[in-house]
């Protein structure tokens, strides 16, 4: 039962795989383990079999794009780009397939989906991994006999008895957010700026200035300066992630750092594509894009102008985030705690 034994948990049907969040339910010796994962962290909640009062399955539409559905979409795209010019009938077949897949997804989401909730005397929790009717059936087929082993089975007309009593925790507990209590003090307000964010925002403006000054010609030294600037930005972004994780910073700066890194990566890839196009016909091309060659390409100049504009926009966003008043501090506290 404890984490020290060899195989303490058995996987139960249903697995919610999102891009960031996931969820699954596992069966232990005397309890169900609800696992909610957020990529780098798993949160656990246990429901002792002897404490489970009810499992409620509510039919309702669930339009979730799972990673499986996303993978199917990506597979379709790959097949489409690979096969569209192979045969005259290929596009029609592929588009029909796509329509069928989308239709099936909409049907399953609308007509065969549900939410599943587990109720004990002190908790009422959704099981996010169970969102298709057939999965819930398989889940219950495994769980109900185990609960029956521990609790026995309900005999007689339970509907009247249930009507007369209150299932689950009191309403006041439900209104409170998960894991919080009325006595929990309000969390300390995170800061909107630190030295790292100030340098990061300054580096965005420096990046824009650097890009603007080296728009038409670039020396080796300037090139290495650009690499150095990118490494500094990456390092500061990591610091910002850590500061956000430690609740020192608010989320805005982390989002800004992510967008800046994505923009840098996207710009780099676009420059490689432009370089590839520029040197496709010339012999003896290098593996790594030569900025001197790139600087002669109109598309590359346009890309760098866009990069500079994005860097300025992100820098301005960073300044706004740094000086923006903290709305959380101004907001009156909820009268319900």
């Amino acid at each position: 039962m404890t984490g020290g034994s060899a195989r303490p948990y058995r996987k139960l049907p249903g697995h919610r795989r999102g891009f960031i969040k996931g969820s699954s339910v596992w069966l232990g010796a005397d309890h169900l383990l609800l696992v909610k994962s957020t990529r780098f962290r798993e949160e656990y909640k246990r429901f002792l079999l002897r404490d489970i009062q009810a499992i409620v399955v509510a039919s309702m539409p669930r339009f979730a794009i799972s990673t499986r559905a996303f993978s199917l979409g990506v597979l379709w795209l790959i097949v489409y780009f690979a096969a569209r010019n192979r045969a005259p009938w290929a596009p029609a077949v592929l588009w029909t397939t796509a329509l069928c897949l989308v239709g099936a997804w909409i049907y399953f989401c609308a007509a065969s989906s549900c939410t599943c909730r587990i109720i004990t005397a002190v908790s009422r929790d959704d099981l996010p991994s169970l969102y298709r009717i057939w999965t819930v059936r398989r889940f219950l087929a495994q769980v109900e006999p185990r609960i029956a082993q521990v609790q026995g089975v309900v005999e007689g007309n339970w509907a009247e008895e249930v009507e007369a009593r209150h299932l689950g925790p009191p309403l006041a507990n439900v209104a409170a957010p998960e894991g919080a209590s009325a006595a929990t003090p309000a969390p300390a307000l995170n800061r909107k700026r630190t030295i790292a964010t100030d340098i990061f925002v300054a580096s965005l403006f420096a990046h824009a200035l650097y890009t603007f000054l080296t728009l038409h010609s670039i020396s080796n030294a300037a090139q290495w300066l650009g690499y150095g600037l990118a490494v500094v930005q990456l390092g500061l972004a990591i610091v910002i992630f850590f500061q956000y994780r430690r609740h020192i910073l608010r989320s805005g700066m982390q989002t800004l750092a992510i967008v800046a890194l994505l923009a840098a990566g996207g710009g780099y890839y676009a420059s490689q594509i432009i370089y590839g196009i520029a040197t496709a016909t010339s012999p003896g091309s290098q593996i790594v894009a030569d900025p001197k060659v790139l600087a002669t390409q109109p598309a590359y100049i346009l890309l760098r102008q866009a990069e500079a504009a994005v860097a300025v926009a992100l820098g301005i966003a960073g300044v706004v985030l740094s000086v923006m008043p903290n709305r959380q501090a101004e907001r009156p506290r909820s009268i319900v705690g």
Binding site: R39, R41, A54, L167, Y227, V288
Partner: protein, 184 residues
Amino acid sequence: MPLPKWELAAGGVAVCTLCGASNRVHIFPAALLPDSGPVKTEAALAGEATCFDHPSKRAVAACNQCGRFVCQLCSVEFANEVWCPSCVAAGAGKARPAKAETYRTLYDSMALIIPLAAILMYPFMIVAAPASLVLTVMKWKQPLSLVRRNRWRFLAAILVSLAELGLCGAIVYILVHTSFRGAK
């Protein structure tokens, strides 16, 4: 909460009176147990062991962590043991059993995703690959997920990081070689 508002019908099917959704309710005997009510503690008689926090109450058990006597009110059934409220609040340090864990950080996933994400922005491989290797070495012995029991992500992280380091070395060599040749 919503159960009393439903029209419970035969076969465990209930219809929500608010939205009309069809709900299937699986009731278990725990739902029909009588309410236990408030915990009653007994006053200690002369010569009897008493609760550490309530000297007038009779002790019913000793805390499995610190050994303090606890009364009925103070005894907390926790991970098949009886703990006192202080030990529950403190997590009882290193004696904390795995069952009490409410979260774990997945260092193996972290170690794998760092070099994989760096492939998208491959100049950053030179930072990401060593970072992943260091993280793998530092966290190799850390407990993994409660439900995943192998370390293949760590191994994959090592392989991907080493491959990236090799690639970075090759790129740096080509860059330096090209620069020197250009300077000549």
